[in-house]
Symmetry: C2
Subunit: 329 residues, 2 copies
Amino acid sequence: MPSLYDVAAIGNAIVDVIAPASEAFLEAEGLAKGSMMLIDETRALALYGRMAGGVEASGGSAANTAAGVASFGGRAAYLGKVADDQLGEVFAHDIRAIGVDFRASPLEGRPATGACLINVTPDGERTMCTYLGAAIELRDTDIDQEVVEGASVLYLEGYLFDPPEARRAFAKAAGLARGAGRTIALSLSDAFVVERHREALLGFIEGQVDIVFANESELKSLFRTDDFDAAARSIGAMTKIAAVTRGAAGSVVLAEGAIIAVEAFPVEKVVDTTGAGDQYAAGFLFGLAGGRPLESCGRLASLAASEVISHYGPRPQASLRQLATAKGL
Amino acid sequence: MPSLYDVAAIGNAIVDVIAPASEAFLEAEGLAKGSMMLIDETRALALYGRMAGGVEASGGSAANTAAGVASFGGRAAYLGKVADDQLGEVFAHDIRAIGVDFRASPLEGRPATGACLINVTPDGERTMCTYLGAAIELRDTDIDQEVVEGASVLYLEGYLFDPPEARRAFAKAAGLARGAGRTIALSLSDAFVVERHREALLGFIEGQVDIVFANESELKSLFRTDDFDAAARSIGAMTKIAAVTRGAAGSVVLAEGAIIAVEAFPVEKVVDTTGAGDQYAAGFLFGLAGGRPLESCGRLASLAASEVISHYGPRPQASLRQLATAKGL
């Protein structure tokens, strides 16, 4: 069946609040640098009260990836839940403005649209505290069959393993995609998410996932090892394609026995790493949708990641399509 | 009387929505590049719907200046009106987080917090459409006597000449400051504001203003002339100090017959000029509060402007105090 979309992404719909912070601030707040921690509304309000002034930008891992695919000129759809409030309007506006099909109607009343409080240290590393808010209300009834069955790739974020109802939605979407003969991709999202849901994630990957995106620490956590090569071999054996990012050291793509090393694109100054993994996945999936060889997919992935880490915010500010053309990709 | 604050600023409290745009978009929307246009809520929603995805950041001209003064380590207070909604919370959080005293309680119910829709063209120039929202509800009863009388400088934005009630608040604040023997500073804000309120502005400047901030086009509009030197002489004769910015060409400070040329600080890439004039005023007023010579005030002003135009958003992302120290100012 021809596809309506290159990628349909499902995730926690979140607006980011991004502010500069010192290492001492992270320590005083008990935040593990580079991680994502779930917090409740009370904690969110208290932490926000102590954070520096910042900027607000639409986020959500899988939503960022859908936005990146659209910025490359790909066809993307997104499923996720925001509330009927100002930040929910911002989220819906931004994802539609970049060209992603976002059909969901907002949740009426409480809880408010989810927010991710992101403290960015001077080295550009981001530390995230997420208040899921309305995102937690994503139900299996929110899974639009036409969208999921119509997409070449169903892209799921590991963060969805946290809200119990979302896991049901996740399972329903995977079943529909599988039934329609579509490809299923999963991002591991965060080492602590992997720690919390290791067995469930491993079972899901073995049973249903074709493409896994992970960074080094997530991958090591998944296989409870400090040996990167061993972990890479393990994930390579479990999936058709695994793409593992290693920050400035680039990434490694494993596919049917082959191992392809991909260099990172040079960046003048790393301002904020928020969204780096999300945009990597966007470039990779856009390349795959275009039938490109894996090495070329990896180059597009690296390019997209390099754009997003050069400014505040988790989504591209430049057109990734124009950027790719300018770089001869 | 010793002062509680270096600067008390009064203005329209606004949250900015900043998005990239093409020159063709401005033309299609009928927007005069580089200007500020007032729009109603219906027009705001329609324009927002057609704008690209963006970021939200607290703004408001005088609020940005207060934030800049605080970022330099100065003592600043701000008076302005937001609503009891999410963007109002963002505004209140951000201005307090940077260290500005902001005591106002939010407006309950409608209208919503004011928003400025800012389209940034590839050359970094910003074109603004403002929906005043709750800002229009600023009343003379919102003018906190202790704050105004306690500040060395009362800083007012010309934008306040638009909402009728705000003009009354403006007049009350000026009267209090004058009575307490304080300095009154005014930013002309925008050439179209000057066009709308030329006579009222000229009367206010002649009667009550000690320091005027303007850019070249605002100054020419004020005196209905294309002759910059003539306009500069005119404003110099009307006030104790006039600081006139000329973009990349730097600025000119006129004070009691003296004319001081100040160079712009070099910037690698102009990303978004939003807030350039506001931060110029912040640096200048912080310098004055510290008893510095005018040339040094101008250098601090240029430094603050250079920081803010190198990123999206109208307020400093770096500590201006640290930046000034690093530059030996």
